[in-house]
Symmetry: C2
Subunit: 324 residues, 2 copies
Amino acid sequence: MLTTDNIYADVDKWLSEIDYGQAPKNLYDPIRYSMSLGGKRMRPVLCLSTCALFKDDYEQAKWAAMAIEVFHNFTLLHDDVMDKACIRRGKPTVVAKYGLNTAILSGDAMLIEAYRLLQLTDSPSFSLIVDTFNKTAREVCEGQQLDMDFETRNDVTAEEYLEMIRLKTAVLLAGAIKIGALVGGAAAQETQALYDYGILIGLAFQLQDDLLDSFGDPATFGKAIGGDIMENKKTYMLISALSKADSSQRREMQNWMSNPDPVREEKVEAMRRLFEATGARAATEDKVKELYDEAMSKLREMEIPAEGKRYFIDYADKLFKRNK
Amino acid sequence: MLTTDNIYADVDKWLSEIDYGQAPKNLYDPIRYSMSLGGKRMRPVLCLSTCALFKDDYEQAKWAAMAIEVFHNFTLLHDDVMDKACIRRGKPTVVAKYGLNTAILSGDAMLIEAYRLLQLTDSPSFSLIVDTFNKTAREVCEGQQLDMDFETRNDVTAEEYLEMIRLKTAVLLAGAIKIGALVGGAAAQETQALYDYGILIGLAFQLQDDLLDSFGDPATFGKAIGGDIMENKKTYMLISALSKADSSQRREMQNWMSNPDPVREEKVEAMRRLFEATGARAATEDKVKELYDEAMSKLREMEIPAEGKRYFIDYADKLFKRNK
C-alpha cells in the first residue's frame, strides 16, 4: 500500500546519495548545507506518488523527483539572497553562513545539478518531461520577479497576488505532479487534471502559509511570526484588509505601514488585530477552503483508481492539518 | 568555402530571433540587454565551424551553439555581480543598470533558457552533447569559485592559476568545439583532439587577455587598463613577477600591493614596469606562444581534411593578431 511515509524515506535516502562534488569545497559545501536544511520534501514525494498511481513502482521517476527537489532548494537559496533572509527552517541561510558571492555561485551550480539529474530520467516521455521542467523553472523566476515588482507598488490587486503565487509556488508543486504523471504514463487528460489539482493545492498552501506568517505558532513555524507584516508584503490578506477596512481602520493600517521604524511587537499585534477586525483573516481562510474544495472536486472527476484519489485527498488533508 | 564571417552572420541572426519572453519586463529586459552587449561570439562560431568540418551544413548545431552563447552571457552577468563590475564591453553591466536582485534572477532565467535551447538539438549524440554541456557548465562554476578563493590567498602557484583559467575560461571554448564535433558526427579520437586544441587555445587566449589587461590599448580593450593590477589579481604574470623578482623588486611590489589607497595611474605604471623588469611579461608571452604552438601541433596530428585544419589555424591566428 502506497503511503507518504514510505516515499518520504526513499526520497531522503536518494537525496543523501547524490554526489554534488568535492572541490572546490567553497562551491560544494554550501550545496550540501542547503540540501541538509530539510523540509517536507513535498515536491519529490508528490512526483513519485503520482507516478505510482499509474505504474507499479515509482523508481523511474527517481531522477526527475531529485531534480525537482534540488531545483526547489536552488530557488530558496537565491530567494534568500534577494530577500537578505538570515534564517531558513530555524538555521542560518546559505547567504548568511557563506556570504553573497558563494550563495550566488552555489545556487548556479545547484541549477546545473538539477538539470544533470533530470537528464538521467529514462522515459518515452522524456522530451515532454524536460519541456515541463523548463516551463516550470521559467515560471518560478517570473513569479519571483513579480514578487519583487510588487514591493514597490501600492496598487496590487488580489488577482495579481494570486497570479504571483501561482507562478512562484503553485506551478512547481503542479509541475512535480505532472512530471510524475508523465513518467507513469498517464493519459493527457488525467495529466492535465492532476496539474490543475496541483495548482489549486499550491495556491491554497501558499495562502495558508501567509496565514501562518501572521497567526502561526512560533514554535512550529520555523521563522519569526510577522515577517510579512513587517515588510508590508501585499498578501491576499493585506489586500483584503485594505479593501474591507472602514476609513479609521484604513488610516490605522496606513500609519503602521508608513512608520519607518515601528516597534515590531506593536506593529505585528496591531496588524493582526486589524486583519481580524476587517474580516481579512476570515476571507483568506475562506479562500483557502474554496481552493481546497475545488482541488478535491478536480480529483473526484478524474478517471483514476479510488486508491489514488484517496491518497491525494489524504495528502492534502495532512498538509493542511499539520499547518493549522 | 567555410569562413568565420559567414558563420558570424548566422550566429547574429539566430541570436536575434530567440524569444526570451515578455512579461514581467523586469525579468526579460535585462536578458535582452545582456545579449545585446555583443562580443566576438567566439563560442557559437567555434561550435558551428567544428560541426561544418564533419557535415555539409552546420544548421543541426544551431540550438547547441545558441545555448552555449546564452550560457556564456549568463556567466558574464553573474560574474559581474560577484565582481561588482560596472562596465562590460564599454557599457553598464546588468547589475549596474538594473540592480543586484534583478541581475541575479535574470541570470538564473538565462541559465534555464540555455537549457531550453540545448534541448532543441536534434542529434543521435544528444545525450553525450547534454553530458558535455553539463560537465562544462559545472566546471565553469568551479573555475569561478577558485578565482574567488584565490583572492584571499597569497600562495597561489602558476599551476593553480592555469587550472583556474582552464576551468573558468578554456573548458567552455573547448566544450563548444566538442559539441560541434559531436553534432557533426566526428569520431571519438578527433572529438578529443579538438577538445584538447580548444583547451590549449582557451588557456592561451586568457593569458593573452591578462597581458592586455595590463599592456593593452585602452581604445580597443573595452574596459579600463590595469584592473587586474588594482585588484592584486594573482595572474600568471604577477605570480611570475613575484617569483622572478630580486629582493628590492619584491619589496616594491609588496608595497604597492599592500597600499590600501594607491593612486591608480602610479600603481599601474609601477607594476607594469616591474612586470617588464622582472621578465614576467616576457614569460607570459612565452607561455602564450608555447600553448599556441601546442594547439597547432594537436591540429596537425588530427585526421581531418586539410581545409578544416587551415580553418582552425587561421581562426587562432586571427584571434591572437586582433588582440595584439
